[in-house]
Symmetry: C2
Subunit: 151 residues, 2 copies
DNA sequence: GAGGAAAATGACAACAATTAACACAAGGCT
DNA sequence: AGCCTTGTGTTAATTGTTGTCATTTTCCTC
């Protein structure tokens, strides 16, 4: 039977490359988490708990602790983006090239989120950082609102 | 000895007025929390735990549970503003007239925050809400960055 | 000013989200 | 194949926050 490494090493995934550079390892769990985000599309925002549920459902059991560890790792690697909605914990989304810099419109009642882009916002962040001598990491505009269904 | 109510009722504080309209009551604890924010100035952002510490230090003991309850109340009343910095819990700041609509530049290393205003950002939030049929509550731009001291 | 209904407080239990510890398993070098 | 190091799962601990409930307080009415 094929071992895990012989099955995947040949493909030299971007994930594998990124990990190996740092002495970190490509594991099935890490792949599963990243694949989940890739399959689900780049507009979705999942909590750690939701990632866990979805993986359990697809009979890919990954422990919750590992999911937390993996999410943090993938954020550090720049593959995922973490966003904090005031209500109930952190969410994660895939950071892909065709979904570059965007902001979120969040319904505070049902949690529905819509994305939008805005050049001015990006600029505002840059200017503020420069004026204060900060090194910019990212700027995210969170618009808290109530969606049509919840009004 | 003067009772609490006879000591303060005459002043008819804005806090008292706002509370009484709703059948809610003016208590020394609520005054202490609000006073703390007023004394500390409107550019500061405190966590519930920090509010608790400061009140204990000034020998004004208010229980932590009450602080959480009071902070939520003051936010609902529009006297405080709640902001969520990704790192470590919620922060609260005084919402005063001379410090209207502003955004935050946050150092992810030391937590230092600077404020700035930007009309375009405000507009961006409005537009996004309108396009999607959402009812806007507030839009806040959080710029995550590293401050000069931490670089 | 006293009496009483309604609301608020404090102390503490309960919770949810997240992290730490550690024994065991697995990845990736040679 | 074998070894060293990193990663995983399990479970316990921590943190931030909320619920419960008995006791205390506010504030309205007389």
């Amino acid at each position: 039977m094929l071992s895990f490494s012989s099955q995947y090493n040949v493909i030299t995934s971007p994930l594998g490359d990124g990990l190996h550079k740092d002495g970190k390892r490509l594991t099935p769990q890490r792949l599963k988490v990243l694949n989940l985000f890739e399959n689900i599309g780049s507009g979705k925002h999942l909590s750690a708990e939701e990632v866990h549920e979805k993986l359990v459902k697809s009979s890919s059991k990954v422990s919750l602790a590992t999911i937390y560890r993996t999410l943090r790792l993938l954020v550090q690697m720049g593959l995922l983006h973490e966003l904090e909605l005031s209500e109930g914990g952190h969410r994660y989304e895939l950071l892909s090239n065709d979904n570059p810099d965007h902001h979120h419109l969040i319904c505070i009642r049902c949690g529905r989120t819509e994305e939008f882009e805005n050049e001015e916002v990006l600029k505002a962040g840059k200017v503020a950082a420069k004026i204060n001598g900060f090194k910019l990491i990212e700027s995210s505009l969170n618009v808290r609102a109530i969606c049509p269904n919840c009004i």
